[in-house]
């Protein structure tokens, strides 16, 4: 029997919980899953890497055999299909899903708004490649279109590097990153650069449990683990220098009025700038494996909502 997981028509961080709920419900009895994206109208980088993480988690028996892979119906809208292809989604999805629908053969990337197509991150070498590529492609856009000081490009690469390293060091599996610039009409009416990182690994709670759960006692859970990592800068390693990465990302985002949100398990934490009305911490969300990170850096200038 195959269970259906509907991909939201507008698939981004706001609709992700709806998707996670459908995924959790369908994935309960280890049946084969069908991710239905045929009606998708738009997906953010967060939606795309999140869908890949779901595909990774839905693989039955941990094998790569065709019968163990979940199914995916591709979007039918040609423009949506074209964007998902340019964004590098299908190149990665081909390994995870049995894809149904017509998928263009066009190569990924080389589109001005896709600063980094969906890229797998499995090891430190991948982080080097990502950082090198983003510096070549993003400098001009960060400076000319977002009005960031050219010096901020290096900070952007640092933030991206640390976000990717979270996967390498903590997930226990591979994940994906994507970076895109776009005009964010809904919220800011200005351009933003978005970094989305997702994995279907062990998540923050599991990663931090051996060193942190006693300290939190009854409060220990996904929300406490996210709070410990992002707000208190703790790490699963006892080395006193650990935990620098997320702290560094926070400093960078404070300086450039950016936002970070991390979802892991059943909780989501965010450092919320003035221009956004997101809540700092949400618990009791539908469970979803691993961790999903969203970083948004807005065009500089007035960011009044």
């Amino acid at each position: 029997m195959t269970r259906l997981v509907e991909v939201p028509a507008q698939f981004d961080d706001r609709s992700f919980d709806q998707f996670a709920g459908a995924f959790a419900e369908a994935n309960k009895d280890a049946e084969r899953l069908l991710f239905d994206a045929h009606a998708a109208e738009w997906a953010s980088p967060y939606g795309l890497v999140g869908l890949l993480a779901a595909g990774q988690a839905a693989r039955r028996g941990g094998s790569a055999g065709a019968a163990d892979r979940p199914l995916l119906t591709a979007p039918t809208n040609p423009e949506v299909l074209s964007y998902w292809t340019r964004a590098g989604f299908f190149r990665e999805a081909a390994e995870l899903f049995e894809i149904h629908g017509k998928v263009p053969r066009a190569k990924a990337a080389e589109h001005s708004d896709v600063l980094l197509p969906v890229t797998p991150v499995r090891a430190a070498e991948d982080v080097h490649a990502v950082v090198s590529k983003i510096q070549q492609r993003a400098s001009a856009i960060l400076a000319s279109e977002l009005g960031l000081d050219p010096k901020a490009t290096m900070g952007f690469a640092m933030a991206l590097s640390e976000a990717c390293q979270n996967i390498v060091e903590h997930a226990g599996t591979g994940g994906w990153v994507a970076v895109q610039a776009y005009h964010w009409r809904r919220k800011l009416a200005r351009r933003v650069v978005v970094i989305a990182v997702a994995d279907a690994g062990v998540g923050f709670r599991h990663s931090l449990e051996p060193t942190q759960s006693k300290r939190f006692g009854d409060r220990w859970g996904d929300a406490a683990a996210l709070e410990a990592a992002l707000v208190q800068g703790v790490s699963r390693f006892r080395d006193p220098g650990r935990g620098q990465g997320l702290a560094g990302i926070r400093r960078y985002l404070v300086r450039w009025d950016g936002k970070i949100a991390i979802r892991s398990g059943t909780a989501r934490i965010a450092i919320v700038p003035k221009w956004d009305e997101d809540v700092p911490l949400k618990d009791g969300l539908p469970p979803f494996p691993g961790a999903q990170v969203l970083i948004i850096i807005p065009e500089q200038g007035s960011t009044e909502p």
């Binding site: 430190a124 982080v127 950082v131 290096m154 690469a157 220098g241």
Partner: protein
């Protein structure tokens, strides 16, 4: 004697000649171990346990693209944490400084930056930086210049 370290060259020997960025902990670890070998090869660090005479290493960052916080911690902070050493960083950009400074401050450590004109600037925890400069002057490794700036006296 001052040990000269070309960070860009060490990075390319350690990881790949394709990359110019100091990112990730594994990269930082390999780069630090190479620097430690170079220091030990000159008899620095005073012995296998790192105790004894102070090591002075001049680390040139010219040609290094980005350094992230993890690498800054793994290289700069650990070189200072694990032995009595003075690190004099040259070829430092604003971006490098942004990564290294908070890491050193968080550990209560300090390093020196050598500007293009040879004058020294401090990086990291203020208290540790003051002690570092005093010690260098006391050892006659650095001297105060007219105008209140400091410079190394050793080549």
């Amino acid at each position: 004697m001052i040990q000269y370290i070309d960070m860009h060259a060490v990075l390319q020997q350690s990881v790949s000649s394709l990359y110019t960025d100091l990112v990730t902990r594994p990269t930082g670890r390999v780069v630090r171990e190479r620097i430690e070998q170079a220091i030990a090869g000159l008899g620095g660090a005073g012995g296998p346990d790192g105790a004894g005479e102070m090591t002075i290493a001049r680390i040139d960052f010219a040609g290094v693209g980005c350094i992230d916080y993890s690498c800054a911690d793994e290289i700069v902070a650990k070189l200072l944490r694990d032995r009595p050493a003075v690190l004099v960083l040259s070829g430092i950009s604003e971006g490098h400084r942004e990564a290294i400074e908070p890491v050193l401050t968080g550990h209560g450590l300090a390093a020196l930056i050598e500007r293009a004109d040879g004058t020294l600037d401090v990086l990291g925890a203020k208290g540790a930086a003051a002690v570092l400069l005093d010690e260098l002057v006391a050892r006659r490794c650095a001297a105060r210049r007219p105008g209140g700036t400091y410079a190394l006296t050793l080549a």
